[in-house]
Symmetry: C2
Subunit: 358 residues, 2 copies
Amino acid sequence: MFYKNYLNNCFVFILKISIFLHNADNSCIKQYYLIIKMAVTIKDIAKISGYGVGTVSRVLNGGTLVKSETRERVMQVARKLNYKPNKVAKMLVTGKFSQSTIGIILPKITHRFSMEIIAGIYTKLNELGYNLLVFNIGKKREEVFEHIRYSHFSGLLVLLGSLKEDEVLMLKSENTHFVYLDYHDRNENSIFFNNHLGGGLAAKYLMDKKCKRIMLVGDYAKTIQREERFRGFKDVLKGAQIELFDEVYISSDEKAAYSLTKKVIKAGKADGIFFYSDDLALGGLKAKREIQSSIRIIGYDDIEAAGYLGLSTVRQNAHTLGKLGAGTIVEILKKDKPINETEVVYRCLEPELVDRGS
Amino acid sequence: MFYKNYLNNCFVFILKISIFLHNADNSCIKQYYLIIKMAVTIKDIAKISGYGVGTVSRVLNGGTLVKSETRERVMQVARKLNYKPNKVAKMLVTGKFSQSTIGIILPKITHRFSMEIIAGIYTKLNELGYNLLVFNIGKKREEVFEHIRYSHFSGLLVLLGSLKEDEVLMLKSENTHFVYLDYHDRNENSIFFNNHLGGGLAAKYLMDKKCKRIMLVGDYAKTIQREERFRGFKDVLKGAQIELFDEVYISSDEKAAYSLTKKVIKAGKADGIFFYSDDLALGGLKAKREIQSSIRIIGYDDIEAAGYLGLSTVRQNAHTLGKLGAGTIVEILKKDKPINETEVVYRCLEPELVDRGS
DNA sequence: CTGAAAGCGCTTACAG
DNA sequence: CTGAAAGCGCTTACAG
């Protein structure tokens, strides 16, 4: 038993619900009123203004083929009801929805490295005339994927590590192509950096600088990137028959790295440290310089500050990754093949050593 | 005279067009075939597979209430036709379109300052559970606004300077709220920095450092920001009865600023320069340090590098601007008032002097 | 100048 | 398990 009503600038349904709870006495009844707000439609305006929906539509679209009297009456009603056009319906009927939007899904927290990737993506899409729809896993993950499912865009970039199995299935059933960025999976499109190689470069750097007691410092986040990067590092040491002196994990900020490094220097044991990222390494560098220690420090990523502060590092060109990712997804879309007939793009980018003498 | 046909993995209309050219002999005829590609719909699949559209829809949505034989037949046809579901239709019927997407429109080229604003926006929207749809004026401007018109999002941030009159009209007729960022218009929502004040701070800095022969350097772009910033600068000088020594405009890059500053120092006239932006000022700073000149240099923005390199500057907190902009548009949307009844948000942020002794 | 109707591509009760 | 039908909110010829 319900009725549609006009109330408080908005149409509402008022729904009376009775709930019978099967208690011992089998008689307890609760009643609720459920109020459902309904969006105002062109039909409502038509009914209230006394015109047909066609006329209302013409007025709303600035059509000139309406009497100005009609025009005003309709506009007045529309304003009063706080009418907002339903873009989705409009898109459907006009067929004018953009075919040139790329989606990207990102983790909750983004560091400078991700921001640079995004800048690269943006630059490339700009060139190609595509728009970018950014989804963040700020809310519940499933909710975001619901949005992704029902949003209209042509392809998705995934800068999030791995997707879950059902997420992949959903995307495929919606025929939505996607490309992993900075992550790799043999079965899916992936553009990523060779972390194993990069870790090795860092090891070589410290060896070249004649370090003998080499230390590894990472943060707590267990990612595939860290695993590969550190494995690459250890493999090279092993190859040179150098034993890893120490391996420490700290929280992901510069200050933690700073105080750790101070301690290490004062203990006077390690003579070279490889930090998982420049963010950490900058803390280490600060400690080194303050104490004027000869300890060697190398980071990873080559963020802008590394250049200014003279930190040796392993460069991963984030901008290039972003541009490449954007270019790839657009190319895949242009081929317009069914998702299971598309050949997988699997591209590994090589990092490079940047020796700034630190 | 045309017919629908199945060809090359896609439905096509082939349209035969005859054109009569009214020449002298009045007889010349040209004929074309116009080929129109039509998207494959669920109806096409139904027709070809021999099932009803309802059944096809159930199969496509992974429904379990279909015979597996039916399921396979339908899927096979869908694959063969390279069927792609129309998300827009799906959204309309399910009503599941995201109400929590904010749009942003950006100029073609974006500098670090804009990127930081975007990072701020992103951070805030993340917090609020909103997605971001980024439009760039890479393509023709009108085309982008067509996209904006037909895209489904709730509010728009404008980081583009001013909108044209018809663009504003379009947004309003679509009931799309918008907020200017880093630009201001008394009649529209605006969040921006006080450039007049900022320019004044720069002037005070140089005066405090006892500069007597003060110079102004900008790039060629005539923006409202530049006008106000430089006017503020001059106003303060005028107030102190100091005459502007020189005013030069160069191209927007560090190198131009570097060589200009070298020349200025060698000429030995000016003893203080205010650069329109840190990007330029960093070039000036480099020249100053190379020659070990005592000339004073101040920039504007406080980009990251300014901190690392010890450049005095006027800080505009881009991150704050972005966060505020995102928060504001969401708040406006939550109030859900008709666009002409919304009171205008007009918020001016104050820049601050950062003295790093340069 | 306006109304009634068809249709955009899909989903989803409702019968059978 | 499947088909026919109604409907999402709009636009747009087509008559009148």
